[in-house]
């Protein structure tokens, strides 16, 4: 088996999808000659040409609106937003049209558009380059919201997203781009909508996705070593649709749950998971579902991001609060 990075897995997924279907086209800022600022589209212009790998003018609303038009013409566009914080000009097109097209056409018009967005912090970046906008997209009915935490999932989830007739917001955890995993491509993992229990445990369930999965796994490992307890770890993989069944079964088993994410807490994924689990597993819970998240603040300057973002210590501290409840 080969050691490959998530960046490489994403690049290969795009290449394989383009080879499998010549209606798959890529467009975005600097995705062509440069291969994207994170090199996710590296080499694709050379092999597929300017029509299928388009360096666009600097205009996110245009990138998304043009993608919608291409989809109406039968293409399967995979637009890239260069960074999380620069996806906002496209929100009007995404919320008003991309998400609503099927519904407004009485189910007749599919919108097979996959909007790739590098997201999240911990890379020491300047402002607007470290945001976690998943709740905005999750709150917009009509969109699927998918986020891998490993190279294998990055490959498989991106392939599945491109094959989906529903629009997908594909959130790539940029701090994990260069993390390696043993995997042979192509690889097929669970379908979109299925969470994965990454580690079995009996005392408490940690729920994470994207950039926080590694942190949750490290915390579970530390909890085991330090005798804190046996933690189960769930990787959501897809935020919409959300795998209620896996969450509820795990909460029923362990009786305690902590949701971990970088995004602010208020109206975030943690709130959604907590509400659902409380509703469906209330009598199994030994403690309220707790959240370990970023603060409800604009993303701070890089020199403060470590305090803002959940790390292993803060996850364990939250775990202890749950265990002590």
């Amino acid at each position: 088996m080969a050691q490959i990075t998530m960046a490489r897995a994403l690049n290969t997924a795009l290449r394989d999808a383009m080879e499998a279907d010549d209606r798959v086209v890529l467009l975005g800022e600097d995705v062509g000659t440069l291969g994207g600022v994170f090199r996710i589209t590296d080499g694709l212009l050379k092999d597929f040409g300017e029509q299928r790998v388009m360096d666009t003018p600097l205009a996110e609303s245009a990138i998304m609106g043009v993608s919608i038009g291409l989809a109406l013409r039968g293409y399967r566009p995979v637009p890239e937003m260069q960074f999380d914080g620069f996806s906002y000009p496209a929100l009007d097109q995404i919320i008003s049209h991309l998400a609503k097209y099927r519904n407004r056409s009485a189910g007749t018009q599919p919108m097979p558009v996959v909007c790739r967005i590098p997201y999240g912090g911990a890379i020491g970046a300047v402002e607007h380059h470290s945001e976690s906008p998943e709740a905005i997209y999750g709150h917009t009915a009509g969109l699927k919201v998918v986020t891998p935490s490993s190279a294998a999932d990055a490959y498989s989830l991106l392939r599945q997203s491109i094959e989906s007739d529903d629009p997908v917001i594909f959130l790539e955890p940029k701090r994990r781009y260069w993390a390696k995993q043993e995997v042979d491509l192509p690889v097929s993992t669970e379908p979109i909508g299925k969470a994965r229990v990454l580690r079995e445990g009996s005392d408490l369930t940690l729920v994470a996705y994207g950039p926080m999965v590694k942190v949750a796994m490290d915390a579970a490992e530390a909890a085991q070593e330090e005798g804190v307890g046996s933690l189960e770890v769930i990787d959501l993989r897809s935020l919409v649709p959300l795998d209620d069944a896996t969450l509820v079964a795990s909460a029923a088993k362990t009786g305690r749950m902590v949701v971990v994410h970088e995004a602010p807490q208020f109206l975030g994924m943690g709130a959604e998971v907590a509400a659902r689990v409380s509703e469906a597993a209330f009598f199994h819970l030994e403690a309220p579902v707790l959240r370990c998240t970023g603060l409800d603040i604009p993303y701070p300057p890089a020199r403060l991001e470590e305090a803002h973002l959940p790390g292993v210590d803060r996850v364990l501290w939250t775990v202890q609060r749950s265990l002590d409840f």
Binding site: E29, D30, G32, T33, L34, G35, V37, D55, P57, L58, A59, S61, A62, G85, F86, Y88, P89, G124, A125, V126, E127, H128, Q265, F266, L295, D296, I297, P298, P300, P301, A302, R303, L304, E305, A307, H308, D313, R314, W317
Partner: protein, 358 residues
């Protein structure tokens, strides 16, 4: 200001002074020498930015190398009570307008602050990284100033890439409809990261203004005297109530997009060499020599000032403390919600316990 198809130039490539029907050089000898000082100091600040990034003192740096004349010339043409809206590469504008406030810019790129100066202090907005967004702020400020009867203008700086954003076209139109006192200053440095002009637009930037109903002018952005003259005229026109002007300054980004960028992936060394030969400071110095204004003494003074500023930049950045943890929450709201304050107390509790545990 008439519609013109020719690029305004007052300096030939060898520094000879050119005649122009509309734009003249009317600076005193002292000002002409001070302009040289500012150009040289700005270039040195930029060199320090690159060095400090390489040494790990800054997270990233966006070099302004090659664009000094466009930035210094335009900023110098403004009055203290005009209001400036920069993008993220306008270190020269910040230095001319606000002197050593440029240290805050280094703090931003260090990751120690979020630009954090008071925009009213130097009538200078924070850097705006989301491309093109600040153009609309300039229009709003200008409309307000007009309502207040103030004889000031607002200036928006942005790049060639930015002209593709909807916000910039919206700003042109809004300003035109309101005859707002705005100067739109586009530094066309030929590249938006790896995207060349030809993939960004199919016609010149300055001509768009005419379609929106106001004048546009193209100026040699590496000719500091032409940039100064054109900007001064546009600012005066705005303050006189005649409405907006779009200035397209043709220049070149001689450095990388930022220190994380590798321009060899997308542009040729021939192109770079061609523009290096046209860089603005050598040309201006040649002009000063021809005018009999350049002396060894002037050069000595200017270099000494650049050395002094560079030393201050280095010392300040190397000793710049990390911001206090309370900066996370202190400036988010005038009246913070209780939910945020509860979160903050919890974080403090966590940090305290962590420290107690060692």
């Amino acid at each position: 200001m008439d519609q013109t198809d020719e690029q305004v130039r007052l300096l030939g490539e060898d520094g000879t002074l050119l005649q122009h029907d509309t734009y003249k050089v009317d600076l005193t000898d002292e000002d002409l020498c001070d302009l040289y000082r500012q150009l040289v100091v700005v270039r040195r600040i930029d060199v320090e930015g690159n060095n400090l990034q390489r040494q790990g003192q800054l997270g990233i740096w966006a070099p302004c190398l090659g664009q000094e004349a466009a930035q210094v010339g335009s900023a110098r043409a403004l009055r203290p009570d005009d209001f400036v809206f920069p993008s993220y590469r306008e270190h020269g504008v910040v230095y001319v307008r606000a002197g050593m406030e440029v240290l805050s810019v280094l703090g931003l790129y260090r990751g120690a602050n979020l630009s954090g100066w008071d925009p009213q202090r130097h009538k200078l907005a924070q850097y705006s990284i989301p491309i093109g967004t600040q153009a609309l702020h300039a229009v709003g400020y200008a409309i307000g100033a007009k309502w207040d009867g103030a004889e000031v203008c607002a200036v928006a700086y942005f790049g060639d890439g930015a002209t593709s954003e909807g916000d910039v076209s919206e700003a042109f139109n809004f300003a035109a409809v309101h005859s707002a006192p705005v100067v739109f200053f586009c530094q066309n440095n030929q590249w938006a990261i790896s995207v060349p002009l030809a993939k960004q637009m199919a016609g010149p930037v300055y001509k768009r203004a005419f379609g929106f109903g106001f004048p546009g002018v193209q100026v040699d952005g590496n000719d500091v005297l032409a940039v100064y003259a054109v900007t001064r005229a546009a600012a005066e026109r705005a303050r006189d109530g005649a409405g907006p002007t779009l200035i397209e300054a043709i220049t070149y980004r001689l450095g990388a997009h930022t220190t994380t960028d590798d321009p060899t992936r997308y542009r040729t060394s021939d192109e770079l060499d061609m523009w290096k030969a046209r860089e603005p400071i050598g040309r201006y110095r040649a002009f000063l020599e021809r005018a009999g204004l350049w002396t060894e003494a002037l050069e000595g003074e200017v270099q000494a000032e650049a050395d002094r500023v560079a030393a201050e930049v280095r010392a300040t950045v190397e000793h710049m403390p990390d911001p206090p943890l309370s900066d996370l929450v202190d400036h988010v709201y005038a009246d913070p919600p209780a939910t945020l304050m509860a979160q903050w107390r919890q974080l403090e509790e966590f940090e305290a316990q962590f420290q107690a545990e060692g």
